[in-house]
Amino acid sequence: MHDALTITDLTVAYRDRPVLWDVDLSVPAGVLMAIVGPNGAGKTTLIKATLGLVRPAAGQTLIFGRPYAEQRRLVAYVPQRGSVDWDFPTTVLDVVMMGRYGSLGWLRRPGVRERDQALAALEQVHMAEFAGRQISQLSGGQQQRVFLARALVQDAQIYFMDEPFQGVDAVTERAIVAVLRNLRAAGKTVVVVHHDLQTVPEYFDWVTLINVRRIASGPVAEVFTEANLRATYGGRIAFLGQQGAAASAVGDLAADEATG
């Protein structure tokens, strides 16, 4: 059986500046994987290259052994919340139904079935009572849950989520974690760009550390080590040793990066 995601020799560059440098990565099906790395490490680019949103300079990515263009229906995508205009004149329910557009294809209109699926997905993220709400009236966390619901109705095999935990409230964080675990229980593969190193061992079972190059990838227990984190973050990070195993980060990373 094929891995859910196979990336070979992937290089993405902005003119002559590599954003991702010869990255190899295999993600087995059924894992909940975090992608971690400092700002500008190419985490978002990795997802975008996989989904054909940026053109790689070299290498390829395969979803269950085939190019993405042939596997679109198997993939769901949660972009960064800030990537869209939340003043757009539409409702929560309408945005969630957009997740069904891929299955509908060109010209076919969403109907009662899509509506019911969207409502069920909103139920899962505890947003059902907001279905008729204009999207600009949502808090950041609620917006994130709407995006999550939109990915859920895609009913995919592999989910790519770009920083779903970014700036969300505690309720939303718990809702997202619950959804991630449900997805894993249903045998889905989930790839999440993640920032909070402390929660990696708790939320995820697989992790990839990148900083332009792939530093390490594998089960959290094996590769989420202080040595690998140092290699990823370039020593600009302090650690609290935790029983010799996975280290959790302390210190203000953002401040370190600003000065480093």
Partner: protein, 367 residues
């Protein structure tokens, strides 16, 4: 039909045709592309004329639409260099193409009916004189062109409503789902070009811009549903057209100019008076919030000093303004509103919280 009815009918149809693609331009923050396209189509017309030497040739229309799309491509090319932003790129590209057209007209086509005034303001009042026969009906050509444009826009938006919405709201997801947002984008730009060319003969480029931007911008303030925004844009555009016609009639001025003015007035009215988003509603809301917040501050202040020794000093209505540094009139008004709302009550010289006031203060302290 009487000529004045025909002129108004043409104006209404052109306004509706422009408003539809205009909604998507406004939502994509590309309103200024309508400015560029409505000017550069002239170059396509001129080049078509120089090739065919026939003002009635369909090649003029094809050339004009193609030039509109070329304009968009050139703007993207210039933006793509990363050296200038999109607004500057628009400002660079379209004057070049437009002035080439103006030079070509004055050099090679000075004696034909292609003059710059009619390009900018159109010749709406003369539209009834240029007639065609179709299915036994004797119609002004501009009316027929407008109708075809309107129906084409309705059909395209009707068919590709879902694709246009998705590509406009979230181009990234549209691309990931295989909906080719670049194709949708150029499809929309072709629609804008066709509309601009169709409308431009009758109403000129200035009115094309006004009708593509002002009604959708006004409708955006009135609703938060895309379908309603489309409908309202059409209605506002049509109303501006009719109001403009009568304004021009009474003041004896340019019809296209008056219509463009009225579309601006329509936007101004929505900007001021739109429920919820208008300036007046916003000011009322902020004033309301100011009083609400002042009452919260008052209850929190009373809660903090409730039952303490200094309560007499801190919580007497007469001393309040000194302690909170509020102007006396403002403090008195806040107390009056809080009393009226059942948040506080007077006990002689002491202001105390009611049960409701205490709850509000406790909620406020959690903020």
């Amino acid at each position: 039909m009487a000529p004045e009815v025909e002129v108004q009918l043409i104006a209404v149809i052109v306004a509706a045709a422009c408003a539809l693609p205009g909604v998507f331009l406004v939502l994509r923050r590309m309103a200024m592309l309508s400015d560029a396209i409505s000017h550069t189509v002239l170059l396509g017309i001129v080049l078509g004329y120089l090739l065919t030497r026939d003002l009635g040739s369909p090649l003029l229309f094809v050339g004009a639409v193609a030039m509109g799309v070329v304009t968009v491509a050139l703007v993207e090319l210039v933006t793509g260099t990363g050296l200038v932003r999109e607004d500057a790129a628009i400002g660079l590209v379209f004057p070049v193409l437009f002035s080439i057209a103006v030079i070509l007209i004055s050099r090679f086509a000075g004696n034909v009916h292609l003059d710059v005034d009619s390009v900018l303001l159109g010749e709406l009042v003369f539209a009834p004189f240029d007639r065609v026969r179709l299915l036994g009906l004797d119609l002004p050509r501009a009316l027929l062109v407008g109708l075809v444009t309107l129906l084409a826009n309705l059909l395209l938006i009707g068919l590709f409503y879902k694709e246009l919405k998705l590509a406009t709201f979230d181009a990234g997801l549209a691309a990931a789902l295989g909906f080719a947002p670049a194709l949708v984008h150029y499809g929309l730009m072709t629609m804008v070009s066709i509309t601009a060319v169709g409308a431009f003969d009758a109403v000129g480029s200035i009115l094309v811009i006004a009708l593509m931007v002002a009604p959708p911008a006004a409708a955006y303030l009135l609703t938060d549903r895309l379908a309603r925004m489309l409908l309202l844009s059409v209605l506002i555009g049509a109303a501006s057209a009719i109001a403009g016609y009568w304004l021009a009639y009474w003041l004896d001025v340019s019809v296209a100019g008056a219509m463009a003015t009225m579309s601006g007035v329509a936007f101004g009215l929505c900007y001021l008076f739109a429920p919820g988003r208008g300036l007046v509603a916003g000011a009322a809301r902020r004033a309301h919030q100011r009083w609400e917040f002042a009452q919260q501050m008052l209850t929190l202040h009373l809660l903090n000093h409730e039952g303490t020794a200094e309560a007499i000093e801190e919580c007497s209505p007469s001393r309040l303004s000194a302690h909170l540094r509020w102007p006396p009139a403002f403090a008195a008004e806040v107390v009056r509103r809080a009393e009226q709302g059942g948040l506080v009550q007077r006990r002689g010289e002491l202001l105390t919280l009611t049960e409701r006031g205490r709850r509000l203060a406790q909620e406020a302290s959690l903020r």
